[in-house]
Symmetry: C2
Subunit: 93 residues, 2 copies
DNA sequence: CTAATTTGGTTTATAATATAAACCGTTGTA
DNA sequence: TACAACGGTTTATATTATAAACCAAATTAG
């Protein structure tokens, strides 16, 4: 039995990756709404995904308001696919 | 997005449940071998699953040696199935 | 027989993780 | 000019996973 990538085996980070896998671009506010997480928690988990190179985080402006846009990187896609394959074995899927 | 049962969203506990779902009875030593976990870790996680009523743990003897046999309960089966359904949404499966 | 070693665990300490609370700068608004 | 709201970040806390230390019984070695 293989190890489950600890970076992905976390409820919130998995939810974020799940969204980004299907959407290709999502900002902080949207992720917060979809995941129903607190801003602090989301911020921390985005950092971790970013530091791992699984997502890119771009801070820009929407008019005068700041806007943080996230995208999954190719590395992130691969890690996600790999996680899916691994956990399928645990779930007997 | 639903919550992932924290009792099952743990590498080792999920591995144990996965095994028990397909085997219907497994002892401590077997689980230790299959999961490649330390005895301490396994002991703790079995306790948690047991306290949650997800598995039954029976301590008996095999000749003169002690033998701890585990089985998944109906409650455990249901929780596992539910976990699978929930995480499928995260994984887009 | 007695002393080590192994087996099958449990208990306890530690390290890592997730999460929320408190905070901060900017921007609209009363 | 305050003061609330938005978009976050940083820091503190509580939980969790994990390994290390330990224990009793059984086996093996001298």
């Amino acid at each position: 039995m293989n190890e489950l990538d600890p970076l992905l085996h976390s409820q919130l980070r998995l939810a974020v990756m799940s969204i980004l896998m299907s959407v290709e671009e999502a900002d902080f506010v949207y992720l917060r709404q979809q995941t129903e997480s607190t801003a602090g928690n989301l911020s921390v988990q985005l950092d971790k995904l970013s530091n791992a190179g699984y997502i890119s985080v771009e801070k820009g402006f929407q008019g005068k308001k700041t806007r943080t846009v996230c995208r999954v990187t190719e590395r992130g896609r691969e890690a996600f696919r790999n996680y899916v394959e691994t956990i399928r074995k645990y779930l007997n899927l």
